[in-house]
Amino acid sequence: MNVTLKVWRQKNADEAGYFETLEARNLNPDMSFLEMLDVVNNELEADNKMPVAFDHDCREGICGTCSLTINGQPHGPGEGVASCQVYMRSFKDGDTITIEPFRAKPFPVIRDLVVDRTAFDKIIQSGGFVTVRTGSAPDANAIPIPKETADLAMDAAACIGCGACVAACKNASAMLFVAAKASQLNMLPQGKAEKDTRVLKMVATMDEAGFGNCTNQYECSAACPKLISEDFIGQMNRDYLFASLRQKFLRRKKNA
């Protein structure tokens, strides 16, 4: 099969970007989308042109590195997949496919389709953890956790930190990412002690980074390669509300 690609090219964050049209020929429908880009890149290299820069690593949908917007859809067609799990059989011979980076102000373009997602790391650094010193933990079975809670925490923890939620959100909001981590830790007994500070700090860091606001449209969940539920956003909103009230009225120290 053959397809025409309309690819976003941008040398670095400072230079303006543009769309370039490239032809991808003689493809096998069983090829992955990224393998198709590999083939295109090999041809570009043969012509002494810069290959299209795109992020990828594990190519099995778990590392969260790949980050393509394919025809306006973060991670392309298909439910619950990352860009690396999109196969050419999802397209028709002769299709024109638009490939863009994940677009959001806190995700500046590094080159072509590669964006900088350190804003996510900063959010985790502000509170996405349980404070526990190495070697100080009690026996793992000392704190039983109801299976239902553990399973729900796992649902939230499945987040791969790819940023598709931000890319898909009409407002470039990072609520699903933040909610997934905050909810996971807040619902486990281990994370309860830091529940309030965690949610307050993570949300504050998210806002500082310049992400947009949640307007409850749930595009994020639909585009999430792990289909993480928007319910966690509701849970975080609740945690945030109570944490704010407690902080305001119970005069807890801000950085407690």
């Binding site: 670095n12 090829m31 990224l34 099995e60 590094i110 996405g128 079975n141 930190g161």
Partner: protein, 637 residues
């Protein structure tokens, strides 16, 4: 060179405790005066950096990824072993130790393996405390499963994403330290050289992937936790960017490379479908708990699997290994698959595949149970192949999955270069000639969280007066070395892209240094690699410049290193004239085509010293002395 393993004295079970008691402590107020560089942010790297930070050291952590959370530890599916004996099925530290050393076919160091089993228990405690959502039973206690042929259920898991959850746990601990300012994180910085000052590792040279800037970083010790080197084979279950550059460049600076030929080939991966293939996807070994592996009895039988009657199927693992059956260890299963494919009984369009059939299990347990157990794996399979494993059997084939070899380290995880420590898959220490399932995560976390934070103390306490700054001429020299490699790569402007050479090298390695090896094959492989390496430097085409985000350039440097490492792997395989674990020399097999070990002549660690790209490396032996363990022959019949 005399290799000092520095194993503590005393009975095996007491070595680690004794050693901990004897390790020199660094005064708390002095800790912040020490700088430690950690390269890599997987389980071992994140764990080490986080714990160093917590202890009060100044830490710089480097990763070529955009975030420490991307390290390939994340892709481990099945689980993590620990001798908790929560299932009351007779597990113990002693038993986990024994299984591990036996699984490694008695080519690992006794004391290291015992320590691994010992600290495994703490890992689970720590990770549960970090909020890792391990699977649980209805009573709220941790669930376990049996994994990879173990006779006890000691594997902890988090759905099919155990590696991800553990890595994210370690990443959260690291993130906390970054937030607190004790760890300075350098994402998108790739280590390109190790800097030695007076024979001690005192820093690294990195390239910033976004700007191409080459920077020197000085420290009191350098910790490499950069993972394995299976991408030498081009097609593997490794992430595309996993590479050997950090350990290889350290090797070129004098660090010994131990047992490079020990490569694990995982039996259950999705077969190759075409030339464009970039990656092989692993299907968790846990599938073998309920799936039955078979091929047609007849050579060249191209009927659809459903049309092949029961008595014309060969359930070869069950036939050959009645007691372990489909759960036979990885190397045995892989080789058996290769064997039936070599006989022409392989299935699928390429003939390189065997069936993994769930129809019996579905009949016995119902589709819902199977869906509950393996749903996500069946989904992955469907995504990639477009086939449903509920309807027809999966097709699987072995693929390169893990490298047991790595830089040589002593009991303290320090290489032969003082101040250079190596953790996790990047070192050689714990898995011998073969790694058990669910033990990689265990080793990474053990090394990072529970071993190196203690054992580095001895070195740091001694090196107080040996500090280095980036002003030292050694840093300038190393920077120049890095720049000259880059220039050479960019200025060749040959005819072929890097991927062409990688693919060619991969083919040579798979054919000559794969699941079954022979003297002739390896010798041929070495010649072919040498030729390919020459071609590479004459004919590679790397577009663009250094001073920009240039993925082709990154890849070129890595493949350049593979060109040298591949040859060393073949040499090591050639030198090891025995079969052991995953290293199968066709010359040495029993009548039943089992690996025939030679403990008399080969019970040693082969640690190779770099002498120059075109010069023959020198092998140093660390004799393996089993004081408390009887070297038995593996028998999985």
């Amino acid at each position: 060179m005399k290799l000092q393993a520095n194993e503590p004295e005393g009975p095996l079970a007491e070595k680690w405790q004794k050693h901990q008691a004897n390790i020199k402590l660094v005064n708390p107020s002095n800790k912040r005066k020490y700088e430690i560089i950690v390269v890599g942010s997987g389980l071992a790297g994140s764990g080490a950096a986080a714990t160093f930070g917590e202890m009060g050291y100044n830490v710089k952590c480097f990763t070529y990824h955009d975030s420490p959370r991307r390290a390939h530890s994340i892709a481990a599916q099945g689980g993590i072993n620990a001798a908790k004996n929560y299932q009351n099925d007779g597990d113990s530290i002693q038993r986990l130790y024994h299984d591990t050393i036996k699984g490694g076919d008695f080519r690992a160091r006794e004391a290291n393996v015992y320590r691994l089993a010992e600290v495994s228990v703490k890992i689970i405690d720590h990770c549960a405390a970090l909020g890792v959502p391990f699977a649980r039973e209805y009573g709220g206690l941790l669930a376990n499963r049996s994994f990879g042929g173990a006779q006890v259920s000691r594997t902890f898991y988090a759905r099919g994403q155990t590696g991800q959850q553990l890595l994210l746990g370690a990443y959260s601990a690291l993130s906390r330290q970054i937030g607190l300012g004790t760890v300075e994180m350098h994402p998108h910085e790739e280590m390109l050289d190790l800097v030695l000052v007076d024979g001690h590792a005192k820093g690294i040279i990195t390239r910033n992937k976004e700007t191409g800037k080459i920077t020197s970083h000085a420290a009191d010790a350098v910790v490499l936790a950069t993972g394995g080197y299976g991408n030498v084979y081009n097609l593997s279950t490794y992430a595309r960017n996993s590479n050997a550059t950090a350990i290889w460049r350290a090797h070129r600076k004098g660090a010994l490379f131990a047992n490079p030929c020990f490569t694990q080939i995982h039996p259950t991966c999705i077969p190759v479908s075409g030339d464009y293939q970039s990656k092989l996807t692993l299907m968790s070994e846990s599938l073998r708990n309920d799936g039955r592996i078979w091929v047609p009895k007849k050579v060249g039988d191209k009927r659809a699997p459903q049309d092949i009657p029961e008595d014309e199927r060969d359930y070869y693992l069950e036939r050959k290994y009645p007691s372990f059956g489909n759960l036979a260890p990885r190397d045995i299963s892989s080789r058996a698959a290769k064997q039936v494919c070599d006989e022409g009984r392989g299935v699928g369009p390429t003939g390189l595949g065997v069936y993994l059939d769930f129809s019996d299990a579905i009949k016995r347990l119902g589709e819902d149970t199977i869906r509950e157990r393996y749903g996500n794996l069946f989904d992955i399979y469907h995504e990639i192949t477009g086939e449903s494993a509920y309807q027809s059997p999966m097709r699987i084939f072995p693929a390169v999955h893990y490298t047991m070899g790595g830089l040589w380290v002593d009991y303290n995880l320090m290489s032969n270069i003082p101040g250079l420590f190596v953790l996790g898959e990047a070192n050689f220490s714990d898995h011998g000639a073969n790694r058990l399932g669910a033990s990689a995560l265990m080793q990474g976390l053990a090394d990072g969280f529970f071993v190196i934070p203690y054992t580095i103390g001895n070195y740091l306490a001694e090196c107080r007066d040996k500090r280095a700054t980036v002003g030292h001429s050694a840093f300038k020299d190393a920077e120049e070395n890095v720049n000259s490699i880059t220039k050479k790569l960019l200025n060749t402007r040959g005819r072929h892209p890097v991927s062409h050479f990688h693919r060619e090298l991969g083919k040579i390695m798979w054919d000559h240094c794969g699941m079954a090896r022979t003297k002739e094959g390896l010798e041929e492989g070495i010649t072919k690699i040498q030729k390919l390496r020459k071609e590479f430097w004459q004919d590679v085409n790397v577009p663009g410049d250094n001073e920009e985000y240039n993925q082709a350039l990154e890849k070129a440097g890595r493949v350049a290193d593979y060109m040298e490492l591949g040859e060393l792997m073949c040499r090591d395989a050639l030198e090891r004239d025995e079969s052991c674990g995953c290293h199968f020399r066709e010359e040495h097999q029993t009548e039943d085509a089992e690996a025939l070990r030679n403990d008399e002549d080969f019970a040693y660690v082969a640690a190779w010293e770099f002498k120059g790209v075109d010069d023959t490396p020198v092998m140093h032996k660390e004799e393996l002395k089993y004081k408390e363990t009887k070297m038995a022959t593996r028998n999985y019949k």
